[in-house]
């Protein structure tokens, strides 16, 4: 009944697992008392989160003046962090939606955690425009509701408003997609639990029973949501790039931005997935479900998207020169050789050179290299946004307004705070929900379990045939 699988495909589930083993391995971390590493990590994360909350209060209380923004640098670390987090939030939906449409079975090992990460990253991202607004209590003005001012509507022609719609739609759809995938797994946890936990997980599992008709609809829903989320995920960073591309700032006003931002988003998103998965698989003992084959597949995506990003950087440079437009030329000259050259070269090294190591299988399959490079890539992608935003704005049309922007401790604290929010939510997630999609992994066991693939398959087959032969002999 299972589809034909090429013998050169690596198994995606190792360790000769049965269905019950899968349940046991993946659901049990939610049932145990967290270990010391988890508690320590949680305390550190909550510490960062608390500092972030202090900085938010500081910002609201004293105003945006507590940041070091100035006459030309109206966007600093806040929007840099916003774009960075939104970018990180792109891998989850890419894995669960686009790879579902492409029938990539390896997505089942990582989609759950990657989608959780997406949701948490988008929450972090959404915070920055909100506090950047200055008068946060006026924030509800972004919603087009019938108001007493006319009603005066919001500007539907503004990319900043498109962003509001894009990010909130993305968050909602990702959340629905993720939760619907979680429902059957919560039912699995429910059916193993007792007492209060059982009641709690019954609430979370929405009364799931595993009926054939429900599964049929569930699969149909997942497929359509994937079909909707695929253009959605591409649209979100496209619209984020419109925030820049539709302006008339040299260095921002370029048509290459949408594809280049999307590629960069997937690039950084996968890097964050790698960082988290390498730790998660080790701590929760899930190496047999998130195998080296998974890591290698993701490294291939990083290599591809990193190379697209690199090509985009070089194209930008070429077009700046070729345009014959002095302001555009200066913008790029200034990025590469101006006062912020350090961030430009940091970006070039981290985003263009570092992923090229992944041409070699040895690096793609090395956990240490993958972990190290995944962090390098995320630093690089942060630099990219900083280069685009701060270096461009610090050198405006009027040389008398030129400045050198450095963040205040409040701005740095806000960034550290979002890291705290992100990791706190992720750590809680690993305690409450199965980190790997149990039902989906079970559904690929017969085609991708190591006892059914490669050199073991024939052996297994023989064993099964012999067993059923003896059973037949007995029954006759």
């Amino acid at each position: 009944m299972s589809a034909v699988i090429s013998p050169i495909r690596e198994p995606l589930i190792e360790g000769n697992k049965s269905y019950h083993d899968i349940t046991e391995d993946i659901a049990s971390p939610t049932e145990k008392v967290p270990n010391q590493t988890w508690i320590l990590a949680f305390i550190v994360s909550v510490g960062f989160l608390t500092f972030g909350v202090v900085c938010i209060f500081w910002t609201v209380w004293f105003g945006i003046g507590s940041w070091d923004l100035n006459r030309t640098v109206g966007w600093g670390w806040d929007i840099t962090n916003f774009v960075w987090w939104v970018g990180i939030g792109h891998a989850g939906t890419l894995i669960s939606a686009i790879l579902l449409l492409f029938r990539q079975k390896w997505r089942t090992g990582v989609n759950r955690a990657a989608e959780a990460m997406t949701i948490f990253a988008v929450i972090c991202a959404g915070m920055f425009p909100a506090i950047h607004a200055g008068r946060q209590w006026m924030l509800f003005f972004i919603f087009p509701y019938p108001n007493t001012r006319g009603p005066l509507w919001v500007n539907f022609n503004s990319p900043l408003l498109w962003d509001v719609f894009a990010i909130s739609t993305y968050l909602t759809v990702s959340l629905l997609f993720w939760y619907t995938g979680l429902v059957p797994d919560f039912a699995t946890v429910r059916d193993r639990a007792k007492g209060l936990r059982k009641r709690l997980y019954n609430f979370l599992s929405f009364g799931w029973t595993g009926s054939a008709k429900h599964w049929q609809r569930w699969e149909s829903l997942a497929l359509i949501l994937a079909g909707l989320a695929t253009p959605l995920v591409l649209s979100v960073h496209t619209i984020v790039s419109f925030d820049f591309a539709t302006s008339v700032i040299p260095g921002w006003h370029t048509t290459i931005f949408p594809p280049y931002f999307v590629a960069g988003a997937i690039f950084s998103g996968f890097a964050m997935v790698q960082t988290l998965m390498i730790i998660t698989r080790k701590v929760l003992n899930l190496q047999e479900y998130i195998t080296l084959a998974h890591i290698e597949s993701m490294n291939k995506v990083i290599l591809l998207t990193g190379s697209i990003v690199g090509t985009a950087y070089l194209t930008e440079l070429f077009i700046a020169w070729y345009s014959g437009y002095v302001y555009e030329q200066f913008a790029f000259y200034n990025r590469a050789l101006g006062v912020y050259a350090w961030s430009y070269f940091g970006m070039m090294f981290c985003n263009v050179i570092s992923p090229q190591f992944f041409w070699f299988k040895r690096f793609r399959r090395s956990l240490w290299w993958t972990f190290f490079l995944s962090i390098v890539v995320n630093i690089g992608m942060w630099f990219e946004r900083f280069v685009i935003i701060a270096t461009t704005l610090a050198r405006d049309y009027l040389p008398s307004s030129w400045s050198y922007y450095v963040p205040t401790w409040v701005e740095i604290g806000l960034f550290l705070g979002t890291l705290g929010i992100f990791f706190t939510l992720y750590l809680l997630f690993t305690r409450v929900a199965p980190v790997v999609a149990i039902a989906e992994v079970k559904s690929i066991l017969k085609s991708s379990g190591d006892q059914y693939t490669g050199k073991n398959a024939e052996h297994h087959y023989k064993e099964v045939v012999e067993k059923s032969d003896t059973a037949h002999a007995h029954s006759h």
């Binding site: 009944m1 049965s18 269905y19 019950h20 349940t23 087009p144 006319g150 009603p151 005066l152 509507w153 500007n155 539907f156 022609n157 503004s158 990319p159 408003l161 498109w162 719609f165 894009a166 739609t169 909602t172 759809v173 629905l176 619907t180 429902v183 059957p184 039912a187 699995t188 059916d191 193993r192 609430f203 929405f206 009364g207 799931w208 029973t209 595993g210 009926s211 054939a212 008709k213 429900h214 599964w215 049929q216 609809r217 569930w218 699969e219 149909s220 829903l221 359509i224 949501l225 909707l228 989320a229 253009p231 959605l232 649209s235 619209i239 419109f242 039902a439 989906e440 079970k442 559904s443």
Partner: protein, 175 residues
């Protein structure tokens, strides 16, 4: 007040045994109440005679509603209710309505379909559905028959069906 169902169910250890059993049940003209599995088993729907889900059709209409809502509303606002010139563009500047129209199309379709899914499946926060066996969400594949008003002969026939098709356990439960 819901009617109590007397259920006779058998558990299988493998989805291939389940598929063979469901096929056999079809051949024997047995009326299966429901089949419960820990994951979606492909090939089960045609054997059970389940027609394809029409959720995607609903999704199309929700999406179309989103498209019309967004585009229609923005058009009304900028041509009728409060026309403003932005950057020298016409009041009806359709290209710049596209991003929000797209986003709301996706939003309406996704939210509409998810709500429909949970509603027609009878699932939702606080719903408690009877569970025949705790291992159905783990590693057991279950075929259930409703046996209200069945004679002993009929129940015996079902039991022999289970033993012939290799069910590892057979039990009854009133739900």
């Amino acid at each position: 007040m819901k009617e109590h169902k007397e259920v006779l169910y058998g558990l299988y250890d493998d989805e291939e045994d389940l598929l063979r059993a469901v096929k056999q049940a079809g051949a024997d003209h047995l009326d299966i109440m429901d089949v419960f599995t820990p994951f979606p088993v492909h090939g089960l729907d045609p054997l059970l005679g389940l027609s394809e889900s029409r959720l995607h059709i609903a999704g199309f209409f929700y999406g179309a509603l989103g498209t019309l809502t967004a585009f229609g509303f923005m058009t009304w606002v900028f041509t009728r209710d409060w026309p403003i010139i932005f950057g020298g563009k016409p009041y009806f500047s359709a290209p710049s309505f596209i991003p929000i129209t797209f986003e709301l199309t996706v939003l309406f379709a996704a939210v509409g379909m998810v709500v429909t899914f949970y509603t027609i499946c009878g699932l939702g926060p606080g719903v408690v559905n009877p569970v025949l066996d705790d291992r159905i969400t783990d590693d057991k594949f279950c075929i259930a028959f409703k046996t209200n008003g069945y004679s002993d002969t009929e129940i015996g026939k079902l039991r022999s069906f289970f033993s012939n098709t290799g069910a590892s356990e057979v039990s009854t439960k009133t739900i």
